[in-house]
Amino acid sequence: MLRLTEYEQAMLEGGFGPFRQAAMRVICDYAQVLGAKELCTVRRATLFIGAHHYLDAFSPEEDYTRIFSEFYLNREEPIPFDRMAPECAAQTCAAAADLDDWEATHLGEAFVRRNNAWLGAASGVGVSIVNSCTPYYAGWVPLQGEHFVTNESSNTLMSNSVFGAYGNADGVETAVCAAITGRTPKWGMHVKENRRGDVLFRVETDPADAYDWDLLGYTVGRYLPPHGKPVLSGISRRPDVNMLRQCFSSLASTSAAEICHIAGLTPEARDVPDALGGLAPRRTVTITGREIAQSLAMLCDAGEGPVDLVSVGCPHLSLEELRDLAWALEGKAVATGTDFWIWTDYATQHMAARSGYVAAIEKAGAKVLNSSCPLVMRERSHRQYRAMVLNGAKQAHNIRAQTDAAVYFGDLRACVRAALRGAWEGGSR
């Protein structure tokens, strides 16, 4: 039986208006489905909203208030927009398109304008337009013990595992309702006792860079049983946030992990026994070069050949990676007939522009784009390409549901090499 505070009960009964009432109804139903006994206060949210393709069932001319009500609030009748919960800092996740470009990405002006109009409606109620799958680069950092919701699965892992904040892998609809009400069911990762790891991974591969960590996350996810909470042991080199970003994005592609402890590194894992809560793991898995090689074979097509798209920035790249790309492209030119897309959020894009990196990159013929990626933009953005090179395992894994093109996977240097030569010549790093 769900227990509500007086404030929550008043919201459910309409005391704070129909917008919050409808959202609180969804949150209470969600609590019943999960089996939660109470709600908790949500301080931060990232929401996968805008003209995303999950709204393709609606006519583009449909009133967005009605779409919002039916899709997110479970209400047939349009509920007028009101404000999001003031205690919750809410912003947008990756968007359906770049904010400004509709030519390079082949999406067309009408679609990009509609996406911006729907994002504008969201910011009108208090969901800031950030359009990032790496929101921690632009200041969205939940603190240890703070409750959050996010629609970006790699950010669920980052925020739980590294920041020590509390959040589940919430769906779009329930996260939107959590941001409107400032409440979500106190269940799963929101409860300290549920956060201990239970599957021990002995890592024998000594990951050293973002590419290694991307493959490690992908591999751990392949061996993680359903509902498993991995603990990584044997990590001798300290990873940086960009490496963990890659690890968590691929881990969330091959599994449903919401937390991943790294013994000796993450806050709830001073050592292996601490990460396991003093209990024995339900399974122990050893990761060697063999398992990593299998993952690489799953992600990168065999052979060589010409490529017409290189896309990097899954998840969105950091400022220093844009600097490194500017350096790598200095005095060089992307091959004719090959498009080279570099994805980041627009705050980082602005900083990179001011720092001179964007100009250096674009002088070489590459394009710095914001807010999205081929996977999220879907087929219309990439259907004309016959062979693509990608740097994110998440992208390389999931794009295969959308394309028959050859898909090659490599690190940023391999991607630059392919873009300059207009060809994949093997060698993922």
Binding site: V26, Y54, D56, S153, E173, A252, N398
Partner: protein, 162 residues
Amino acid sequence: MKPIVLYGRGAYPGVAEGFAVVCPDSIAGNTGGLGDTDGVIYEAGSSARGQCIAGKILVLPGAKGSNGFSAHFKAAAISGFAPAGWIVTRMDSRIGGAIVSLRTPAVTDFADADPLSVLETGDYIRVDGTNGVVTVWKKAPGTGRRNITAKESGICPGRRNC
């Protein structure tokens, strides 16, 4: 044949019947894994690839992939391709979000047997989400054919493999 009965926790109330689509590896919630406007499973490597979820009882260990999991099921439902009900070995937030968003009967958190070890695609299922009871009529063994025909016609409005 006498039906098999499984007991779990009713997660969303109501009663639904339909043929099972069993997904031992779940369904990836990533963009493109499930067709937003046709309810077809497109995930590369999935044993259920090509199946349409419309009118089916989905049998899953839990969710996997993107946090956008529920949005793709909601999109399919709005397009007219909603599953009739859910059987989930163990509840998680991704699939919980999908169940509440579709408002379809669901049973989860089974006490005795894992439904994945009992159910096969094509079995006929009744999901009683109010009382947490799942009733299973097994398809005829060895033939790949179902041993009942009731309600077979018109149960699925999907275009492919329904």
